[in-house]
């Protein structure tokens, strides 16, 4: 038995002190991280952190209470606080905890070599990145590399008792070029569960250097409607912040999504197929079960543009009289994974199914348009209506099928409903570049037709 499960069991036993308790759940999380940071060409810092936290969810009658703890010795106090909250909470007809069901195990999500990683390995990767960038041509370079070992455990009074351990190597690199007052930026992130998959930090360095330098060729875009090619980072930002929540059952049940009552309807072009790949080893937080211990699954949400399903956790499934799809997650109000927030419906890894085109294929057919690698502002989009506006951070003007320079100013206004219908071509490579606070959507390059741009 894992250490976390043993701690969880001892906290769960506390429930016996409360005769009126209907059900209780313990969630525990331990994350051990080694980090190295590079700043302006030099290594700056090394970090070793061990985050430990847990949460208690208690149901008394139909009331639900919640509490958190940052240390195992707070377990008894946390159980009492959760029970007291549950006693005064108004009844929730749909309050429930999962019962035991077999959960799949996901191979390849843990690598002992990552857990035992040498700092020299991380240092070499970081220095390879730095040395791939020409110091004479670039203004600055920043990089962060991490080795992460994460364990979670979920236990409840219905007999659910699960634990999962995964590892992750993550890298993010950023560089800046400068000519006069013109400062440009380029950045990419990547991750892998194992040292066996190549994490080519040198290739990333070379690619982002080229991006930063090309953007020094400052261009303006004309206002009007045009084709826009979205890099996977832009797909993640725009569709992650605004689209992903629109398929979650709690938004559907509260009628806060443009897709309410649209099951079976065409909501996107035929190029669009979206699967929530809960069983993917490539998820940023892979596990065979969700954050309340229910088995995760691969759920087809959109198939060839037709809306097929929404995503449910146990509570929303009970309300909708259906089965959970294993989509319970614990996220803060800022969409960061956080044990200190009660489980709610969330995507595991909503993934645009790849097409056949390369990124170059998508760009070469655009006579005049935009290649948007990284937007800003997607987080201010409105989930209920799907309307969003973004501005460029890393962006290029396309003329006659080629990226010709960087663009710094425009507003791209649309809605998720409109954008899904205008997706004309889909790239063939889904990129794994999720970041901690917004993991909901993964995708390949997308080409979107006839988008309104205001300069």
């Amino acid at each position: 038995m894992s250490d976390l499960l043993a701690v969880g069991e001892s906290i769960l036993k506390e429930h016996k002190k409360f005769k009126d308790l209907t059900a209780a759940e313990i969630f525990l999380e331990s994350t051990i991280t080694t980090t190295l940071r590079l700043e302006r060409w030099q290594l700056k810092m090394g970090e070793t952190t061990e985050e430990w936290g847990g949460a208690v969810r208690a149901i008394v009658g139909k009331g639900v209470g919640f509490s958190t703890l940052s240390h195992a010795n707070l377990g008894s106090i946390a159980m009492q606080a959760a029970v007291e909250n549950a006693r005064v909470a108004p009844p929730n007809e749909y309050a429930t905890l999962p019962t035991v069901k077999k959960a799949p195990s996901i191979p390849g999500i843990y690598d002992k070599e990552v857990e035992d990683i040498e700092v020299d390995y991380l240092t070499d990767k970081l220095l390879q990145f730095r040395d791939s960038i020409d110091k004479k041509k670039l203004h600055s370079v920043i990089g962060t590399i991490r080795a992460i070992v994460r364990e979670i455990a979920v236990l409840n009074t219905h007999g659910v008792e699960r634990a999962s351990k995964s590892t992750k190597l993550t890298f993010s690199g950023e560089c800046h070029a400068k000519k006069g007052d013109n400062l440009t930026s380029a950045a990419e992130t990547t991750y892998s569960s194992t040292t066996k998959s190549p994490m080519d930090t040198q290739e990333i360095g070379e690619r982002i250097m080229a991006d930063a330098l090309l953007q020094l060729e400052a261009k303006k875009v004309r206002s009007g409607n045009m084709d826009v090619v979205l890099h996977p980072l832009a797909v993640r930002e725009i569709f992650g912040w605004v689209l992903a929540p629109e398929f979650l059952a709690h938004n559907i049940l509260k009628k806060a999504s443009p897709f309410v009552d649209k099951i079976g309807q065409q909501i996107g072009s035929e190029q669009v197929s979206l699967i929530d790949t809960g069983l993917s080893p490539d998820a940023y937080y892979p596990s065979g079960f969700d954050d309340e211990g229910y088995p995760r699954s691969n759920t087809t949400v959109v198939q060839k543009g037709v809306l097929k399903s929404f995503l449910y956790d146990s509570t929303t499934a009970k309300e909708a009289k259906t089965e959970s799809t294993g989509n319970s997650g614990r996220f803060s109000v800022y969409s960061r994974r956080n044990y200190a927030f009660p489980p709610t419906c969330s995507t595991n890894r909503l993934t645009f199914q790849p097409g056949t085109a390369t990124a170059e294929d998508l760009i070469k057919d655009v006579k005049y348009g935009i290649y948007l690698k990284y937007p800003i502002g997607a987080h201010s989009g409105d989930v209920a209506s799907g309307i969003f506006n973004v501005a460029p951070y890393i962006c290029f003007l396309i003329e006659n099928g080629e990226k010709v320079g960087g663009i710094k100013k425009f507003v791209f206004s649309s809605s998720t409903s409109e954008l899904l219908k205008k997706i004309a071509m889909v790239g063939r490579k889904v990129k794994s570049d999720a970041i901690e606070w917004n993991e909901q959507v993964a995708g390949p390059h997308l080409m979107v037709e006839d988008v309104k741009i205001v300069e």
Binding site: Q42, M45, G53, V64, A81, L183, S185, A391, K409, K452
Partner: protein, 465 residues
């Protein structure tokens, strides 16, 4: 507690750290969230732990744990990691010299969280949730939060500074979604402060709730916002977002060191119109005497809080600094190193940044605008070191011949920061206070910031439509 903290710092120095500092947090909070009458979160949080930072051979190391005993045993690892970085450096990181402090600062509650039962707080949250839906049938969803927190933070360093700061926080927030046919609109508002229940009078928040419900109903009927370039009056919240998001981040010393700010090397230069003075003030207080939402007595490096003028009549006069960035750039420490909690490293952050008020009344701000827009309340903002920004706008009013006119739906504005600051041609006289938050770093750290300031006017801004 003090002995154990001192012992850990002594262990760090005995392992070779030339400087070490430690932050220990003890937090207890209650959070009630309601969504269409369903209590989606009724949480009591207990959180404590400490983070230790060491400077060894001119590079940093860091470790943290929720268990002080465990932290003691990981000091050696942090020192080793710092040495690993130092072995690949050609220049040493230093921290600027600073005064040593010993203090125990307690910000008290006038109206204690304990004078109202948790049942009454729950009833308040449920009533806030119900009120908009009682008032109008087109209110599709209401999501609101009540929260209260008591936090104590200890700071100690190897130079002999030892500070304890305790403070309460209370607040409430609401998001209201209106729906009519295929049209959906959203409004959000918050009330609160670094104080007890006096920061969040329940009756006042219910009034705000009713007012926002009326706004949602009006927005449902409104046409879309126009798109293109317009003269614009920004209400206080959008003025604040321009100061904070578009400009303030560019002044942060760590961004300057990273080469990720267009303000690098521009001290003394003109970056805004002559009318503009921008100040960051962690000692700022609201009219009621409650500290503004981004206030603190000492920063998280133990530096006594003081206001910093960043822009003086259009000229850039200072950045915001930690001890490291001040040392590297040869400038005065400003006391802007902050953490979200003990788990994280100090970053250079704003506190309460604001445009210094001028003399214009709201009516006078509108007077000279023939055909423009009045932008009301932000919905998030984002900036880049390249000096571009994007801010969501909740409501837009057309301005015709100097008069506030028709309401339009929300939109977004975007632009180049320095161009926009140079286009400021009037600043209001009335400063407003609000609560806000700011995210930065990897992993992202959220800190509280005062969303304060007067309304401003710009001669042209790009509106998204």
């Amino acid at each position: 507690m003090e002995d154990l903290i001192q012992k850990i710092i002594e262990t760090a120095t005995s392992f070779g750290a030339s400087y070490a500092d430690l932050r220990f947090d003890n937090i207890q909070s209650t959070r009630i969230q309601v969504r269409n009458s369903e209590v989606t979160s009724f949480r009591t949080l207990f959180e404590q732990g400490a983070g230790l930072r060491v400077l060894v051979d001119g590079a940093w190391g860091f470790t943290m744990s929720s268990d002080l005993e465990k932290l003691s045993s990981s000091v050696g690892k942090a020192v080793k990691l710092a040495k690993q970085s130092a072995s690949h450096r050609t220049e040493r990181i230093n921290v600027a010299e600073q005064q040593r402090f010993k203090d125990d600062v307690q910000w008290k509650q006038k109206k204690s969280h304990d004078i109202i039962s948790v049942e009454d707080k729950l009833e308040f949250a449920l009533e806030v949730n119900k009120r908009p839906r009682d008032l109008n049938k087109n209110i599709a969803m209401v999501d609101n939060v009540y929260f209260e927190e008591k936090m104590s933070r200890w700071f100690a360093n190897s130079e002999g500074t030892f500070i304890k700061h305790s403070r309460p926080v209370t607040g409430a927030s609401i998001n209201i979604v209106g729906k009519s046919g295929e049209i959906t609109v959203l409004r959000g508002k918050a009330l609160g402060g670094l104080a007890g229940l006096e920061a969040t009078p329940f009756d006042k928040f219910l009034q705000i709730t009713e007012e926002e419900t009326r706004n949602v109903v009006e927005l449902l009927k409104a046409k879309p916002a126009p798109s293109g370039d317009f003269p614009a009056v920004f209400n206080y919240d959008l003025g604040y977002l321009l100061a904070h998001e578009a400009f303030g981040h560019l002044c942060e010393g760590d961004h300057i060191l990273q080469g990720d700010s267009i303000l690098e090397g521009r001290i003394g230069g003109q970056v805004a119109s002559d009318l503009v003075t921008i100040i960051d003030d962690p000692t700022m207080k609201e009219a009621s005497g409650i500290p503004a939402y981004g206030s603190y007595p000492f920063d998280d490096e133990g530096i006594k809080a003081a206001p910093t003028t960043l822009v003086d009549e259009g000229r850039l006069v200072s950045y915001l600094h930690s001890r490291e960035t001040a040392s590297k750039l040869g400038q005065k420490v400003t006391g802007n190193a902050r953490i979200e909690n003990y788990k994280r490293l100090p970053l250079v952050r704003m506190s309460n940044i604001y445009f210094q008020p001028s003399t214009y009344s709201e009516e006078e701000l509108f007077e000279d605008v023939k055909d423009g827009v009045y932008l009301v309340d932000a919905r998030g903002g984002q900036t880049t070191g390249q000096g571009t920004f994007h801010v969501g706008v909740q409501m837009v009013y057309l301005i015709k011949k100097g008069e506030k006119g028709e309401l339009r739906k929300g939109t977004a504005i975007a632009g180049r920061t320095l161009d926009t600051l140079k286009k400021i041609d009037a600043i209001g006289k009335q400063i407003s206070f609000d609560i806000g938050g700011c995210g930065k770093g990897d992993p992202e750290q959220m800190v509280r910031c005062g969303s304060n300031g007067p309304p401003i006017r710009v001669s042209s801004i790009t509106v998204g439509g």
